[in-house]
Symmetry: C2
Subunit: 396 residues, 2 copies
């Protein structure tokens, strides 16, 4: 119905959007960028969804003074320092930094977004000194995407041109960071989406919340939720084009693909697995089981070991507190029946097939509870030695 055309160079494609990233020396001995911006050359609308962590970081508290949807034309970003647990001083630091941005940018409600270590004041001078190096008229999506990375192994950047049946089109693009501390409700990450679609102000928040609930809130790397999670959508309307269904589909597509990229980059992860729970008494039950599966250490290590130990799947469902019954449960790895009440033991033929399924880079585990119509899919990854290594050594 709508045509989605993938475009290179991410944010750069969107009309009126400028961005750049430079190295301000926030990460010792690393030449990659660490301070970046995204701006619109006209005042845009920004909608945001933030972490549910009670210790919201200073940049979130600062941005929330404008409400959940607000007029703005500027987002400043930094890596390495989360500006979290920094109290009132953390907010004052943001105000001071933003006040040093060039007057000629005609800033309206500029906001900031940070990621990195918790508990340290921002290195204000270093960040402000980066302002001389940033090119405010650049469309440097690559440097911007790189500048928000922390333990990410690759940049996450995506852009579509969406062509409507009448031939009109708009563009939507996004960058994201995130590899660890990923949890449903919501995934710990930063994501900045920009579009030149003419999105009405009343559509911004509901469409963004839907998109987040279908993407970032369904992925889990390690069950932890950070202080800084932020998804922002900046819409400047410069294309003059809008179609609600097309925009919603594009927004869902872009956030889902970014969520899958984050999972693939899950710290030390090798596989992406969809946990599809069906036949539950309610969608809430299905969600609880699917999320428990995506978070279970025993499931994750069995995925890493490529061991078709379905007992860990069953045990995790049983422990999730939902209504379930071993007589009505069935478990499939892709299309392969692994367990039902008539096939309780894995014979060698099915076990052989199960090993093959598990050797894939991605597959699904379907758990049909056989009790009702409730369903939910969550996405997870395996847990490897590498995860422990990255997280034992992070910060130092």
């Amino acid at each position: 119905m709508y045509k989605f055309i993938s475009l290179k160079n991410g944010l750069a494609n969107v009309e009126g959007i400028y961005c750049d990233g430079v190295n301000a020396g926030l990460r010792p001995n690393i030449t990659q960028g660490d301070v970046a911006f995204i701006r619109s050359d006209t005042v845009a609308k920004i909608g945001a969804v933030y972490t549910t962590n009670r210790f919201q970081a200073a940049p979130i508290k600062h941005a929330l003074r404008y409400g959940k949807v607000f007029e703005s034309n500027f987002i400043l970003m930094n890596a390495k320092n989360a500006n979290a647990m920094t109290g009132q001083k953390g907010i004052e630091d943001i105000e001071e930094i933003l006040s040093k941005l060039p007057k000629e940018l005609n800033l309206v409600n500029p906001v900031m977004s940070s990621t990195g270590v918790i508990g340290y004041r921002l290195p204000k001078d270093k960040i402000i000194s980066a302002f001389d190096k940033l090119n405010w008229s650049a469309k440097n999506s690559d440097a911007t995407a790189h500048s928000i990375m922390t333990t990410d192994k690759f940049k996450k950047e995506i852009c579509f041109e969406v062509v409507l049946p009448d031939g009109n089109s708009f563009k939507i693009a996004a960058i994201a960071k995130g590899a660890g501390m990923i949890n449903p409700a919501m995934a710990t990450m930063l994501c900045f989406i920009v579009t030149d679609a003419e999105v009405p102000v009343e559509d911004i928040e509901p469409l963004l919340e839907d998109a987040v609930s279908l993407s970032f809130n369904r992925i889990s790397v390690d069950g932890d939720t950070s202080t800084n999670d932020t998804v922002m959508l900046m819409a400047n309307g410069k294309s003059g084009v809008y179609d609600k269904d097309a925009f919603s589909e594009a927004l869902n597509k872009i956030t889902f693909e970014l969520a899958m990229m984050i999972l693939k980059d899950g710290e030390g992860s090798n596989k992406v697995v969809a946990f599809e729970v069906t036949g539950a008494r309610s969608d809430e039950d299905a969600q609880r089981a699917a999320i428990a599966l995506s978070n279970s250490l025993l499931v994750k290590t069995a995925l890493f070991g490529e061991d078709p130990n379905w007992g860990r799947i069953a045990s995790t469902i049983g422990a999730s507190g939902i209504d379930c019954d071993e007589e009505t449960l069935s478990i499939y790895y892709d299309d392969l029946l692994i367990y039902d009440a008539k096939h309780r033991e894995l014979d060698s033929k099915r076990e052989e097939k199960a090993y093959k399924v598990m050797k894939q880079d991605s597959f699904k585990i379907v758990c049909d509870l056989g009790l009702g119509e409730g369903k939910f899919t969550a996405y997870g990854c395996d847990l490897s030695y590498e995860y422990v290594k990255i997280n034992a050594e992070y910060r130092t």
Copy 2:
């Protein structure tokens, strides 16, 4: 007030209690025992606390037909096979196995307890053939404790003689297994406690539930809860002695020490950490935060890395959904202040001290929320490469 005397040889000390364990070939190429029993030469009372997992294993369903407290003189145990997710056949297998026990044992309500892999029928013939090898008049606590081990690195066995002020005494002893799949509510493990104290039937269940809530329900290795968790208390009254306070204290002490042994044996763990949450709005809030801390992968890997990254502690509390405030929170490692609103950044002097605390085999992390009187302590351990290795390779 009461004298607790530690005795060697565990279960063997308790009057009228006999036990043994032998190798029935359930674990290929391993000579360690895998089938064991505990019996009383008079009919005793058994109280039990079982897993909250909805997929309770067949031995639990079988034992539950007698209620939570029942008369019995015999417990049969096996390792390697959990007899879980085996349906009605799993229960029939238990009935058949128990019916083959020697008649001269005068069995009253014999029960079974199993641990191991989920989803396979018990090897009935092998287990029954072990009956010829077991010595029904043995007091072989060591072999019994070894026979219920799975990934445990050491046996867990403990015995006290409890001397009352009047000089009378009773004995209480226990064995346990558990190293992985440990989670509060409740810890995945088997624990068999025997005593010759003359415990009134009405005291058995409440005292056992109290003891479990203060011990096994406060430890976490990996946040998973198994299908087979069982704590059984067998009291045969043969000492003719009882004092409720003394018995309760002894039961709490024995279960707490076993819980700490399980944590020390936590798969690949190197440290035991007490997460003491105080100053919460309620005990429930404190419990939620303490358990979240003991389960957090990011906290556990930071413990392994001996990294005083208190931001992960704060972030986990913030994500636990309880009421908290960065202005009133304070965090201590042992007695060392790590964070409060006046000391947000860790200076190098305190950081140096923090490294020292974290190098210990065990220490406490105290989080005072500064909001009320609620408190709870949970116990956890670090997460190492070894955990991933053990769990990626288990079963195969």
